[in-house]
Symmetry: C2
Subunit: 338 residues, 2 copies
DNA sequence: TTGTAAGCGTTATCAT
DNA sequence: ATGATAACGCTTACAA
């Protein structure tokens, strides 16, 4: 079974040396047109395919990039991965995909697994549990190109690509305020996540801009970002148990938004009928049909593309890069239309 | 920058030979406990990481599997990929992801790119454009382990994992019939796709079982499976232009189902108000909120897991496998609840 | 128990 | 223009 053809086989069959064959196969000038033709013809005939692993060993690069996300089955990430793959494909890179499921331990393992030189660079969106980023900074200092997207680590000096979370949150919250809501709660994920911090800032900014006092009991954290139903349910139950129930919620995450909607769908406790929800969500299906969500859409595909371009730039840079960029892409607000 | 530590470095530093170091690092018994400790301690100190590429070259395996799907940003596939990744992770394999975007050419390129010995096996769901599978059968004959999932090629003798498409289609169509619909159209993707054929069979079976004549003009193909809005729109317009308009549609695909719903949402032409739609869809968000779709849900995660288990079994088999399995997992029907 | 050497597939360097 | 050789990092006979 599976006996791959090597340069050696071609050399033997044609009575040439491996170096000659190698030269013929690439576009070196130090070879006669005649032998070149013979080699190429024979290589084609027996369908020779170069062994990328041997090449990787020699050139100390694998032509592949590692991607670390929390969940593939999340519209935002699957769209981002689509963007990542599109650029990687064009540039001849493989995409190696890993998930953290929001677990710090798993993130560390994945990073190390990928990084032990089987990957030329890393595209990272941090897990919600991640506080300590030494596993990444260690590699970064060693020279492994890393680009963050979405959930970034400010401590590490490298390229970053994010959505304008603060502005998106500001707009969503402002939209709720303009629509007449006054007691706006904020449902968000883990406290330390960059996206949570930015979105919280936008939420608070909008309240301040409208002279609404920030009510700390209106701000609820779900560290697992909507992955655990009960967590979201409890947060909402607590909000609904308040003396002054909120009349709207700004939700700061994709899974959290749908989680929130399903809690409201199932909830037995009394919920204001005209409760409004605005939240980050990249599910194209959701805002096509769900009438009760105003969604903040992130340009996930573009973020993935841009992050990949930047990573490949770092990987292929001849000299160490000194200037790092933080690209911030605008979100768009999809307002419910009925 | 990035000067990786090798076994050679350790050997030099400790005044040992590379083979001794290599032995110490693994669990060979042909080594003294003393040197072993010294080597392990030093390796840890300088944070030695073995180079997987060198290992791959030596052992002729990369501990990675290639995945070929049409689109990541499709609930079905992202869930399947989640399952794939979960098993691959447990078994220490990397997942290399590629997309065909339903293009045959791209499928061929991806297959070749992955297969040229950088991957130990392939998990394939065919593109809707694929007729000719020689690019796969060639590799399969050469001994590359391949497992198909979802969209399979019956011509190739290997493991396959699919949902019970025929039964799912039968149930969905039957459900429409039981609900009182009589003129049930069928919106499906490319003619040659295994899933299309199976779902068509289930649709026709349900009609026959209920003594309803099959109306060929009720069966519409969208080769791009809902990826091109106009294609879906035209199909539906044609259905709606028929003298005897259908009163229900059974839709045979994930993107096609949402595409169909959005067409109805946008369509200006007259559409029966009580038009019922039942279709394959794996969007958990969709059937949570959309009242107008009865959805056939595939166990995508389990399909991904099972396919990966089977692939790894093939990869790690000591002897060529002769008996191949076709696993068929049941779908479930989510009926609209209002 | 440890070291030497060959080999995995390729390319670069140096001869010829 | 072509061939021999070493090297990429690792493992494994085989020798010592």
């Amino acid at each position: 079974m599976f006996e791959p053809v090597t340069i050696k086989d071609i050399a033997k069959a044609l009575g040439l040396s491996t170096s000659t064959v190698s030269r013929a196969l690439r576009d070196t000038h130090e070879i006669s047109a005649a032998t070149k033709q013979i080699v190429l013809a024979y290589a084609k005939e027996i369908n020779y395919q170069p062994n990328p692993i041997a090449l990787s060993l020699k050139e100390r690069r694998s032509k592949s990039i590692g991607v670390i996300v929390s969940e593939v089955a999340n519209s935002y990430f699957s769209q981002a991965i689509n963007g990542i793959e599109s650029i990687a494909y064009d540039r001849g890179y493989h995409v190696i995909l890993t998930q953290t499921h929001e677990s710090y331990d798993r993130e560390v393992i994945n990073v190390q697994h990928l990084a032990s030189r089987s990957v030329d660079g890393l595209l990272v969106s941090l897990s919600s549990q991640t506080n300590d980023i030494s596993h990444l900074s260690y590699l970064h200092e060693k020279g492994l190109p890393i680009v963050f997207f979405d959930r970034v680590a400010d401590e590490i000096e490298t390229h970053k690509v994010i959505a304008n979370n603060e502005k998106g949150a500001f707009e969503a919250t402002s939209h709720l305020i303009k629509s007449g809501y006054k007691r706006i709660a904020h449902l968000t994920s883990s406290t330390q996540l960059s996206i949570s911090i930015e979105r919280l800032k936008g939420y608070e900014g909008a309240l301040k801009a409208n002279n609404i006092t920030i009510n700390p009991s209106y701000i609820k954290h779900c560290p697992h970002g909507g992955m655990i139903y009960e967590e979201t349910e409890n947060a909402i139950k607590e909000l609904m148990a308040l003396d002054e129930k909120p009349d709207a919620i700004f939700v700061a995450g994709d899974r959290l938004s749908t989680g929130c909607l399903s809690v409201f769908k199932n909830l037995k406790i009394s919920v204001p009928k005209d409760m409004a929800i605005a939240g980050f969500s990249n599910s194209d299906v959701l805002d096509l049909f769900n009438p009760s969500l105003t969604s903040v859409r992130q340009p996930a595909f573009e973020i993935g593309q841009l992050a990949t371009q930047m990573l490949l730039q770092l990987i292929e840079a001849k000299y160490p890069v000194e200037e790092f960029e933080k690209k911030i892409l605008d979100t768009s607000l999809f307002v419910r239309n009925s």
